[in-house]
């Protein structure tokens, strides 16, 4: 069987490899997404003091360390049976909101945005942040850099360091903020709200008003009907930092809602021998393979999932955008994978609004930021929404708080089966007998996984803009038949 390998896939956190097997007639027999790495956190955290976990586990991902830091810190609260102070909770959520602003900005403008803003068929040389700036204006590029820079300043001020913060402790945070810092955070939050509004306008002007893109979003090639998962607050509104995990079925009905410590009743992970990453699925539905539908335990945990699983957004501007999106897409839940980019921008707006709200909270500068734990630690689960999906940390310790066992279900992992399915469907729909395999076609296959925002940011101003890609086709004996390449000097 002929085999097409894309190795490595790029603009992704970590490493991945796509292998497409072709039948004799040129149609796709099957497609595999393999993840070729494992670092072993679930093992080497054994023996470590629990309070080290926020700092150790955040090295799972340097783009979203704040997510791991926060999930770990919440797990520590439960582990040590200590309630954080009210100010500490607000500071944690404030930092978390600033983090969401940086992360979603990075993903939309630098990683996946160019596909949309420039279009999937745009010349590869323009399909990058430079092209976006040329099309929409240098002012926007400067706004992107400044938004990231300013919000990273917030992360450093509240969390200690701009990358890999250090402030999480059971019962609170390590550092309070003063009035001067608070005022600056408020100013940054205001301009972040404006920036988010601007980003949604960019999306509206460039994507929604373009029928070709809208058709692509609504096309069946990029649609899957799955379950959707997200964290919701007491009013079932989206919340990144705290709440219960809610799952809705492909028709939008609530399927289950669980507190962090109940996660094992609902989630299990399937193993395949050809990849190091596992496939989470809904236990009560069961693992039926890489298929859609109500009878398959496959679920998605992405920005779109969060909006699908919730009843609305907790801030007014984001709520208005939420309603607009669903009325455009024809109701809830929305199954269009590419609409995840839109949902991401709505979350960007919510994060900025929430940042502003918290910066104005009268308690935010209080020095009362720590409760000292007194109970003996034993077991704790902490769940937050990482930008890429629901993140679960589960620790069991001895009576001294030294980790005995640790279990982690990480954001993108939730989406491994859906990623696989999206790539497979795109490959099957686009690679047909007789159809020439072009760079545009290969890019459309890549567009199938980019909405999931695999965990990495990219790009500098010196992107060459080509999509250098090499596809090698082998015959059944493994002889090289043909090599297609683009953008390779």
């Amino acid at each position: 069987m002929k085999k097409i390998t894309i190795d490595p896939i790029t603009r992704l956190e970590g490493h991945g490899k796509i292998t497409i097997f072709l039948n004799e007639d040129g149609s796709v027999a099957n497609t595999y997404l393999q993840i070729p790495e494992l670092r072993g956190f679930e093992k080497f955290c054994e023996g470590r003091p629990a309070e080290d976990m926020p700092q150790i586990t955040q090295r799972i991902c340097g783009v979203c360390p704040e997510a791991h830091h926060m999930a770990a810190t919440k797990a520590l609260d439960e582990l040590f049976h200590v309630e954080p102070t009210s100010t500490a909770k607000k500071l944690r959520e404030l930092l978390y909101s600033a983090f969401y602003v940086t992360d979603h900005t990075t993903h939309f403008y630098i990683l996946a945005g160019p596909d949309f803003v420039m279009g999937p068929d745009a010349p590869p040389a323009e399909r990058n942040i430079l092209g976006v700036i040329a099309k929409v204006g240098l002012e926007l590029g400067v706004a992107v850099i400044n938004t990231r820079k300013q919000n990273h300043w917030i992360i450093q001020t509240v969390g200690g360091r701009p990358i890999h913060p250090c402030f999480g402790l059971p019962g609170g945070v390590s550092r309070a903020i003063n009035e001067e810092e608070r005022a600056k955070i408020e100013e940054i939050a205001k301009s972040s709200v404006e920036f988010a509004k601007l980003s949604l306008k960019v999306f509206d002007d460039v994507v929604l008003k373009n029928k070709k893109y809208l058709d692509m979003i609504l096309s069946d090639t990029f649609t899957h009907r799955t379950y959707y998962m997200g964290l919701v607050d007491k009013s079932n509104k989206v919340n990144f930092y705290d709440g219960k995990v809610r799952v809705v079925d492909p028709e939008g009905k609530e399927f289950c809602k669980y507190a962090p410590r109940e996660y094992l009743e609902h989630i299990a992970e399937h193993v395949e021998p050809w990849t190091y990453l596992k496939f989470p699925y809904l236990k009560k539905v069961g693992w039926k393979g890489f298929v859609d539908g109500k009878d398959s335990g496959v679920y998605r945990a992405t920005p779109l999932s969060r909006l699908n699983a919730a009843d609305g957004m907790a801030t007014p501007l984001a709520q208005a955008e939420y309603e607009k999106m669903y009325s455009t897409l024809g109701g809830k839940p929305a199954h269009y994978t590419l609409a995840t980019h839109w949902a991401r921008l709505i979350e960007l707006l919510y994060a900025a609004e929430r940042l502003l709200e918290l910066s104005r909270d009268p308690e935010i500068t209080s020095p009362n930021i720590r409760n000292i734990p007194t109970a003996t630690p034993d077991e704790g689960v902490g769940i937050v929404e990482a930008p890429r999906g629901t993140l679960t940390h589960h620790y069991i310790t001895d009576e001294r708080g030294v980790i005995k066992k640790c279990n982690l279900i990480v954001g993108t992992t939730n989406n491994y089966a859906p990623l696989f399915m999206s790539i497979k469907k795109a490959a099957e729909d686009l690679i047909k007998p007789g159809v020439k395999i072009t760079e545009g076609l290969l890019n459309r296959i890549e567009m199938a996984w980019r909405p999931y925002d695999p965990c990495m940011s990219c790009a500098t101003h010196s992107l060459p803009g080509q999509l250098p890609l090499e596809v090698t086709i082998y015959d059944a004996q493994g002889n090289e038949l043909k090599k297609l390449s683009q953008g390779i000097p």
Binding site: P8, T10, R11, L12, E13, H15, T19, N30, Y32, P36, R39, G40, E42, K43, F44, E46, P49, E51, D52, Q55, I56, R59, C61, G62, P65, L76, I145, H152, G159, G160, P162, I163, H164, C166, F167, L169, P170, S174, L264, A268, E269, V271, E272, P273, W274, Y276, K278, K283, W287, P373, G401, V402, S457, T460, H461, S462, Q466, L467, P468, I488
Partner: protein, 319 residues
Amino acid sequence: MAKLKIALYWAASCGGCEIAVLAIHEKILKLAEVADIVFWPVGMDFKYADVEKMPDKSVDVCLFNGAIRNEENEHMAHLLRAKSKVMIAYGSCAYEGCIPGLSNFYNRQLTFDRAYIETPSTDNPKKVYPQTKVKVPEGELELPELYDTVKTLAQTVDVDYFVPGCPPEEKTTWLALEALIEGKLPPKGTVISHSIKAVCDECPRKKEEKKVKKFYRPYEIIPDPERCLLEQGLLCYGIATRGGCGALCPQANMPCTGCYGPVEGVIDQGAHFLSALSSIIDSNDPEEIQKIIDDIPDPAGTFYRYSLPDSLLRRARIK
């Protein structure tokens, strides 16, 4: 003047070092004026085959981050070394092993057993483990072999410079990039940082006398914001860690964790910290000393938090 050719690659890493390169913010424009990035999987779509096609030593500098954990990492280290004039171990993973290096307390089998069999959410009744070669109905799939022991970059290829930190702070990154841009690289083997001294040198906290009768876990006390954290009984690694980061963590009221690696001239960061810490224990009575030592729940994990692969023993011995 021809533009510099720069390659960036990540082995077993978290991606934080990629974000750290971006953290130079506007200075990236200066870099773009003088350099072309010819390989950067996180941000560009050049493939391994493109690197293989490059003439040897055609890349001016490779910023390599991440530890060497599997055969793909090792292959890329050798490949990029051949293609690059200058090889820089960027960030703690490449320099000392960093957090992935903690895997050297265990081995591949123990790691696999935990990940694929024992974890409570895993559903694997047939005890399937990932394999390096797997036959599927359509053909064969391959995975790179995972090693038992994590290695540093310098244990794999010849390294010219080291940029410390997990990740390197913006000013440390720029120090290295500026040296590259201006062609003013220091002697081979230099660890590039603003400081060769310990973090204490940069830390604004008041230092009096270091005599500790009890060590505390960070959640047990609310430390005095002005005074040295080590003097207050927190396991602050600053005394045995290279400075250059600005002592950010102590200023956030958290003890330094040691991410910039050892002070200049020190071979084994963990042993160095152990020695220094022992000196300040305020007791000459063996029983009392033992009690104070018992306050430290995880000496090896704390002292070798970032540097286990680069330590003298490199890994734990497993029976």
